[in-house]
């Protein structure tokens, strides 16, 4: 790679040819504020806060638009730059409502931080501020089904419009009017209707675009923990950060505060879809199962202990029936769970194990513009790649095989159906035939393992409560066949257990122990049997994250915030603009 070497603030830096001065500064931890530039959206050159002085150039330059060249001498701290930059900030804040105390971005807002570091101490604006749609949070207006827009806070960086145009490929946001009266808007105020809409909150450097889901829910400092994990909403496997709210155990409300995307150049870049971002409420929803359930003689499901449930299971499943056990496996199951289930099947049905397992998942087309640069795949399950690696499904684009069990079940040839679905309700696909067969007695025994109450668990004889994906360490292979680790962020409710362990417990209760004591041992066993398979290669060495403590919480977030934490706050003294020419103009001294 060709390199150029140039000087910033007296430091020699070497960067790849074609890098802009701003990118070089970011890479080398030199503070230059920026708004309209975003690594995922490119250069716009409209906000003007990234001004620097470059020797031999007649005026100050916007560093985001100047490509670094050999021998260039850049100064980001000369008095001229400091003053000009402070001037730009003063203009940005002329009409800004500064309602940080009630603004959702407050605490993680680049406008706050950069203004504090580079702006003037005080505003000289003495006129009423321009407002759109009202004052304060009353100015929050509908911006589609997922978002709210507060135009008073907008600084016209056009990131949102460029995101919709360049990434979503569907230019739903435009800039209405011009100059002083410019507003971000959708056609006739119909709002943003896009499966990528949540990213607009991430790219917006101020609190102008907020999500209905996270609005007023938590302040950044109330989410002191964040865990880097992956989304299991579909087979893309976006890298995400799950934000966990600090909350005493007895307090009401949920712990999951929000989900934001995490940069991964190969998988999701800077983005994620709304299904993954907003579709996590089931994890702490009312339908969660927190104790094993066993159907009593009178037909009602009753909560019980693990010992009792496993004993009931062993009692109901006599040795003679083992050959007639069939498994319905959701592609939401992780590698560990699929492998453990495979082992259990081998112990019960023997050689026919492979064909006793039907794998199910949902497929849904997502409405997206053809020009989108972020395609949300149709397959709504994270681990079809795993099912293929374990030989449970076949082909380049496998199709669900769970329905192949249907004929057997309906003919009454199946003694017991074991359903494992660690996903949200119904993630395994249509199992209504199994429910019907259980109700009319053609299926004598239905065992359901999963985190939420569904039609299947309601019809089941024994229900074993499992974990949602944020409650366990597990591994998945996405549509590229890439092995990824999903790390535990929160504890499962009540007695719910990690799903691989439930399978091991079931095996032990039936007298055919699998012999694993930890998920890590399962992963080692996978590596030992299937080590060469690309979808599992390296599984034994997979690293799982732990919630990051408060001190580094911002590092876990989107690139804006990560940058802020990495670079900005390491500098102790803010680089403030001192109004030396007019020392009398200070609050309190003014007459």
């Amino acid at each position: 790679m060709e390199k150029v070497t140039f000087t910033i603030d007296g430091r020699q830096v070497s960067v790849a040819k074609g890098t802009t001065v701003l990118q070089a500064a970011i890479e080398h931890g030199i503070q230059i504020p920026y708004y309209c530039y975003h690594p995922g959206l490119g250069v716009d050159g409209s906000c003007r806060v990234c001004l620097v002085k470059i020797e031999k150039m007649p005026k100050l330059q916007v560093s985001c638009s100047v490509v670094a060249t050999e021998g260039m001498v850049v100064d980001t701290r000369s008095p001229e730059v400091v003053e000009a930059r402070a001037g730009v900030f003063e203009f940005l804040l002329i009409n800004h409502p500064l309602d940080c105390p009630v603004c959702d971005k407050g605490g993680e807002c680049p406008l706050q931080d950069f203004s504090y570091a580079f702006g003037r101490k005080e505003s000289r604006m003495e006129f009423p501020r321009r407002t759109f749609d009202g004052e304060g949070v009353r100015a929050d207006v509908d911006f589609g089904p997922t978002l709210m827009l507060n135009r008073n806070r907008c600084i016209m960086c056009t990131r949102c419009a460029r995101f919709m145009r360049d990434v979503a490929g569907d230019e739903q946001i435009g800039i209405i009017d011009r100059g002083y009266g410019s507003e971000i808007a959708t056609f006739r105020e119909e709002g943003v209707h896009s499966v990528l809409s949540g990213n607009l909150m991430d790219v917006c450097p101020v609190g102008a675009i907020t999500t209905r889901d996270y609005r007023f829910k938590s302040r950044p400092w109330d989410n002191p923990n964040a865990v880097d994990t992956i989304c299991t909403g579909c087979e893309k496997g976006c890298n995400i950060t799950v934000w966990i709210k600090a909350k005493p155990e007895w307090a009401k409300g949920s712990q999951l505060a929000r989900i934001t995307p995490r940069y991964n150049a190969d998988v999701n870049q800077y983005w994620m879809c709304d299904i993954g971002r907003f579709g996590y409420h089931w994890v702490e929803g009312a339908e969660r199962l927190s104790a094993p359930l066993v159907r009593k003689a009178d037909g009602a499901l009753e909560a019980t202990t693990w010992d009792a449930a496993l004993k009931a299971l062993a009692d109901r499943l006599g040795r003679a029936d083992w050959g007639g056990v069939r498994f319905a496996l959701s592609a939401h199951a992780s590698h560990e769970e699929m492998f453990a289930l495979g082992r259990l099947a081998m112990a019960l049905v023997g050689d026919a194990a492979q064909s006793s397992i039907g794998v199910g998942w949902n497929v849904s087309a997502k409405p997206q513009a053809g020009a989108t640069r972020f395609t949300v795949p149709d397959v709504d399950a994270p681990n079809v790649g795993g099912a293929r690696a374990f030989g449970l499904v076949e082909g380049e684009r496998p199709t669900p095989t769970v329905a192949s069990l249907r004929a057997e079940v309906e003919a009454g040839r199946v003694k017991a159906l074991y359903v494992l679905d660690p996903g949200p309700a119904g993630a395994i696909g249509d199992l209504s035939w199994a429910v019907a067969a259980r109700k009319d007695g053609r299926l004598p025994l239905l065992i359901a393992q999963g985190p939420v109450a569904t039609d299947v668990t309601r019809a089941a004889d024994i229900v074993l409560p499992g974990c949602a994906w944020v409650e366990k360490d597990a591994s998945y292979a996405n549509m590229q066949g890439r092995l990824q680790a999903a790390s535990q962020g929160i504890l499962p409710p009540g007695d719910a257990r990690d799903d691989w362990r439930i399978l091991a417990d079931v095996a032990a209760a039936l007298g055919v122990p699998l012999g694993y004591d930890s998920a890590h041992e399962v992963r080692q066993a996978i590596a030992a049997t299937l080590g060469s398979e690309p979808a599992v290669a390296g599984i034994a060495a997979l690293e799982f994250r732990r919630p990051a403590p408060a001190a580094t919480w911002l590092q876990a977030s989107n690139p804006m915030e990560r940058l802020k934490w990495d670079f900005l706050f390491q500098d102790v003294l803010p680089l403030k603009f001192e109004n030396t020419r007019d020392p009398g103009h200070r609050a309190g001294e003014k007459t």
Binding site: G134, D142, P145, R151, E183, F187, R188, E189, R212, G279
Partner: protein, 200 residues
């Protein structure tokens, strides 16, 4: 609108924006002739830059029905193959696109420096007095709209009045404007000579 079976989010109307929108308007489609004209204009741009034809398309809408409506803008987007937000973006940027009904003749009086110094305000005042409207308003018969504009690019012949985006009437005075209105009433468009002032 729901994008995904897992996400049945509704659209609660929490707070509507106060932004003033163009009327929805009656259903709109270009007449075959206008459509043909548009295609002709669009053929001047490279195919991947067809979106550049939004401006002429919006002019054609105004020829066809005097002002822009929501339906018309949506139709333009469809015909051009760009997003509706983009059309609204363009339409709201330029003052020569009208999002409210205007009269048959739109009299646009320049009020920028040269014209202002030469008494443009008297021209506006006279126009408004004669037609009984305020600047920006349309007379009762729906015939004339008076608007104040920024520099029309004919500063050496100030004050300038532009009629319907094509006809410049230069070196205007309150007296001359009376004659213009009379002529327009009597002779219609024929009075719009696009006259460029020649006498010294």
């Amino acid at each position: 609108m729901s994008f995904h079976p897992q996400m049945p989010y509704g659209t609660p109307q929490w707070h509507r924006s106060e932004r003033v929108l163009a009327d929805e308007g009656p259903p709109f489609a270009f007449t075959p002739e206008n459509r043909q004209k548009l295609e002709e204009i669009a053929s001047h741009y490279p195919p991947e830059r067809r979106v550049s034809a939004v401006l002429p398309a919006l002019y054609l809408v105004q020829e066809q029905q005097t002002h822009l409506t929501g339906n018309a803008m949506a139709h333009v987007a469809e015909v051009i193959g760009c997003s509706r937000a983009h059309v609204e973006d363009v339409a709201s940027y330029y003052v020569m696109f009208f999002t409210k009904p205007v009269g048959k003749y739109v009299l646009q009086v320049c009020r920028t420096l040269a014209c202002a110094l030469n008494g443009a305000e008297h021209v506006t005042a006279e126009l408004c007095r004669q037609l009984g409207v305020a600047p920006g308003g349309t007379d009762a018969a729906g015939e004339f709209t008076v608007m104040e504009m920024e520099c029309l690019g004919a500063c050496d012949r100030a004050p300038v009045v532009m009629v319907n985006n094509e006809h410049w009437h230069e070196c205007q005075s309150p007296e001359a404007i009376q004659a213009l209105i009379r002529d327009l009433r009597e002779k219609g468009v024929a009075a719009l000579t696009g006259c460029h002032h020649t006498k010294e």
